[in-house]
């Protein structure tokens, strides 16, 4: 799919309810208003929203966090966390019936049987104490009168349909015993077992690895076509939209700002906000190489190995050992940015933590600017710590909530012997460098948004004037527009300070924008390394090819305005 007709058809995309097709709608939301509690930052989660879903159609609702897209889904299902969040007006017409007026009993009959839902995190969305089989069977049992054998046959057939290998084993397994992809397949099987008319999918692939995400998206699309289901697909990711949507609705602060066919919205967005969102999507085309190979090598990693052992006890040998990093070799020249790319569990974070010795590696050496760090004891290492600094993924957990911003930034230099007034003055300068108001210096981290906190994290790392900056998924917790700003900031600072950067990411789009070279990791090994442009244009390893093929919306080139 994808590659929709390139140009706009000249028709303005009014934020109206029509999908431009004269077919009776399966689901019609009309003028929906959902109120937020008094202490919320705005009055309504959803304002005067109208949207339609036709049979055999996938409508994507896109928006950033706080846009009200999940509230919309829950309002349709009657699953709002009452009484704080409740519907104050509008209609949700399903088969001519207004679901907002339906009795609780009637809604229970609709839920699951006629409108089913799948969620973002299948691990928490499934009851951890019950087998997969039991949880799927429960869906059948409460809606249909069927014998045990018929139920089982039906479940097994569907598990086969969602392509779960060894369905008998899956039925007996508990959620923690199978992989994330398998869990989401099981969730999809549970949602589709009663052949609902509508499937509501709330960010169903966000928690999954990119290759798994591609498989799940393909599966949803295939089953949707086969069963003629109407799918309301909620996502924040325009790549996913390009992959799966027939129609697209863009939401912001609870308001529908634009609606139209996928081709219209993706390639010729009308509304200013849609344009800015699409402009923030990193292009998959890698940046031109901006550095030469003449620069001196700053970081050299040789034979880095780390195996995690578990289950060792008084009376038992270590039973399981998990090799997280296997004999990794890396070299990074001054001013270069190396992207460490891989899926979860590939060992990329462990490798980074071994390099800065947050984790003690089993074997291997790290040379930083000619000094062999791995030969030093922990005490000897301490003065060298300032040369490698890290920016963490979670902007909420990585800042001490009891310290002011300026204290957080100045703490490192003060520990390393810089005079306090000088360190504080420099911290204020750094705030300007990361484009935060210096007046923010004396406030606490919780007063800032995620993107602002990540800027504070960057300023903290820069305060020690490091030779090497290790950024571990620095933008993956951020909304796409904020992500674009933070990436831009990192690029500017890097160029200005000639920083060397090790950039860890699972997102190939981000890697394409930021990295001069990339190293692809799988199961603790680097399977391919090279200049970003070369790897993207001509991937050598099958796994790299698989990763590139799995990037959602890879055939869609975001228009530039």
């Amino acid at each position: 799919m994808s590659t929709p007709p390139a140009a706009a058809n000249g028709r303005g995309g009014p934020p109206a309810a029509t999908n431009g097709v004269d077919e009776p709608a399966l689901l019609a939301v009309q003028g929906l208003n959902v109120a937020l509690p008094a202490w919320a930052d705005r009055e309504r989660a959803v304002s005067d929203l109208s949207i339609q879903l036709l049979p055999n159609q996938i409508v994507c609702v896109v928006g950033e966090s706080g846009s009200g897209k999940s509230v919309l889904a829950r309002a349709i299902m009657g699953l709002l966390p009452a009484p704080h969040v409740h519907v104050t007006g509008g209609r949700v017409l399903f088969d001519g019936e207004d679901l907002l007026q339906a009795t609780p009993g009637r809604m229970r009959a609709v839920r699951g049987a006629r409108i089913a839902m799948i969620f973002q995190e299948p691990m928490t969305a499934l009851n951890p104490l019950m087998t997969i089989g039991w949880q799927i069977e429960e869906m059948v049992e409460i809606h249909l009168v069927l014998g045990a054998r018929e139920r089982r046959a039906r479940i097994l057939a569907l598990l086969e349909e969602v392509r779960l290998a060894d369905p008998e084993r899956i039925l007996r397994a508990y959620p923690h015993e199978i992989s994330g992809g398998q869990r989401q397949r099981a969730m999809i099987a549970m949602a589709l077992i009663l052949e609902p008319a509508i499937l509501i999918a709330d960010e169903p692939t966000t928690a999954l690895d990119v290759t798994t995400q591609a498989q799940i998206l393909a599966l949803i699309k295939e089953l949707q076509r086969k069963h003629q289901t109407g799918v309301l697909f909620i996502t924040h990711d325009f790549g996913v939209v390009a992959e799966i949507a027939d129609h697209v609705a863009v939401m912001r602060h609870g308001v529908l700002v634009e609606i139209g066919t996928a081709a219209q919205v993706l390639n010729a967005p009308q509304h200013e906000y849609t344009r800015s969102l699409i402009a923030a999507v990193p292009a998959l085309a890698p940046r031109a190489k901006r550095v030469t190979d003449a620069a001196p090598v700053v970081l050299e990693v040789r034979g880095m190995t780390k195996t995690f052992a578990s289950g060792a006890g008084w009376f038992s040998r270590a039973r399981r050992s998990v090799p997280a990093v296997k004999a990794v070799e890396l070299a990074l020249r001054r001013g270069h940015t190396l992207g460490l790319v891989g899926e979860s569990g590939s060992g990329k974070s462990t490798l980074a933590r071994c390099i800065i010795r947050l984790i003690e590696p089993d074997a291997g050496s790290v040379r930083l600017a000619g000094i062999d760090l791995s030969a030093l004891t922990r005490r000897e290492l301490r003065p060298h710590r300032k040369h490698i600094q890290m920016v963490f993924q979670d902007p909420f957990g990585s800042l001490n909530p009891r310290m002011t911003v300026v204290q957080l930034i100045a703490q490192g230099p003060i520990t390393h012997g810089v005079a306090v007034p000088e360190a504080l003055a420099r911290a204020r300068e750094l705030l300007q460098l990361v484009r935060l108001d210096p007046a923010a210096a004396d406030r606490f981290p919780h007063e800032f948004s995620g993107g602002q906190r990540q800027r504070i994290g960057i300023a903290r790392a820069l305060a020690l004037k490091p030779l090497l900056l290790v950024a571990d998924e620095p933008v993956s917790a951020l909304d796409v527009s904020v992500q674009a700003q933070v990436l831009q900031l990192l690029a500017d600072i890097r160029d200005r300070l000639e920083l060397t950067m090790l950039f860890i990411t699972h997102d190939l789009r981000v890697a394409a924008q930021v990295c001069d070279e990339i190293a692809v990791m799988r199961q603790g090994e680097i399977v391919e390394t090279g200049p970003t442009a070369a790897v993207f244009a001509d991937p050598q390893h099958p796994y790299t090819r698989e990763l590139l093929a799995a990037v959602p919306g890879r055939n869609w080139v975001p228009p530039r305005f």
Binding site: M77, A116, E121, A125, P128, L129, E138, H176
Partner: protein
């Protein structure tokens, strides 16, 4: 999990790990008691209204108290390992006979207490959580706080005052009416009636604790994603509570119950004394004042074994309730 060979290996391993723990406890108890002033010989002599030093020395020699501490310790350890707990000179009986005679009543009281506090706590917590912020929830929560804050012995005395003396519904002390010579079911009923007050006294605190824990855990679990999934499947609130939430919410209570068992023996010293319940707690109390260290050490040894075994049992229950726990 299933009760397969893996679980059996796990049980054996846990029991093997318990051996050094119990030996450590025995050594520690022995050394601690050496620190206490006085011994059985002085107490016996004192009770006789004074005795010449030769007589006391003779007593010491007979009890083996004149030997160096480390020799006494090694001898005691050797005896314990061959399951010989020694002789109580005070009661003129082997320690093991004395203790085993008192074990039954104590286990009965402990078991009844554990069962009552866990069952009632879970039930009350459930009742409070399913009607949160209504009068039912408030009454249960306030009662729980009061029970939580009241001292154990005071509750015991007040219960005796009310139910035994004023209302005359329940017997004050003892485990059974010995002079009635009850047989069969009559005896069971009689013991049950005697059991009520000590059980209530011992279990109130933990019942209140479990009520609060269960209520909090239920409310916590109701906010989990899997509950939203269950709603989206069309389950009624009742089914969601009983099928999905209850089992998840009971896990912290089970953990706490393991801790409770350890403190039950300590609590039973007070309660058995208040209600004259012929159990290990009362025996420990008496032997302490008689400086009957052999007997005291024997009780400590048995208590340590009991706590180890019950903790293992609690872990097995947890294993059965939570499939995420892996025995290896």
């Amino acid at each position: 999990m299933a009760l397969g060979p893996k679980t059996a290996v796990y049980i054996v391993r846990r029991l093997a790990q318990a051996v050094p723990v119990v030996i450590g406890i025995v050594v520690l108890n022995f050394l601690l008691l050496q620190l206490a002033p006085g011994d059985a010989a002085t107490v016996l002599a004192g009770e006789a209204g004074g005795a010449p030093p030769e007589y006391v020395a003779q007593l010491r020699e007979r009890f083996g108290l004149d030997r160096p501490t480390h020799v006494q310790l090694l001898l005691y350890l050797k005896n314990v390992l061959s399951l010989d707990l020694g002789y109580s000179f005070r009661n003129s009986m082997p320690v093991s006979t004395l203790i085993l005679g008192r074990l039954g009543p104590t286990l009965l009281l402990m078991g009844a207490t554990l069962l009552a506090s866990v069952l009632c706590g879970v039930l009350l917590g459930l009742l409070a959580a399913t009607a949160v912020n209504t009068w039912r929830d408030r009454v249960i929560s306030v009662a729980a706080v009061i029970a939580y804050a009241t001292p154990l012995f005071w509750i015991g005395l007040m219960l005796i005052l009310l139910f035994s003396i004023k209302l005359e519904w329940l017997p004050t002390t003892g485990m059974e009416d010995v002079v009635a010579f009850n047989e069969g079911w009559d005896r069971v009923l009689d013991i049950a009636r005697h059991l009520v007050l000590p059980t209530v006294t011992l279990s109130l605190f933990y019942m209140a604790l479990y009520t609060r824990m269960m209520r909090a855990a239920m409310l916590d679990q109701r906010g989990m994603d899997y509950v939203v999934t269950a709603r989206s499947k069309g389950l009624s609130e009742r089914l969601i509570t009983y099928r999905h939430v209850l089992r998840n919410a009971v896990l912290p209570v089970v953990t706490m119950a393991g801790v409770q068992v350890g403190s039950l023996l300590g609590g039973s010293v007070v309660v058995e004394s208040v209600f004259a319940w012929p159990g290990l707690g009362q025996l420990a109390f008496q032997s302490l004042f008689a400086r009957d260290f052999n007997l005291l050490l024997g009780i400590f040894f048995l208590s340590a074994c009991l706590v180890v075994l019950v903790n293992l049992a609690v872990d097995l229950v947890y294993l059965a309730l939570d499939p995420r726990i892996n025995v290896d």
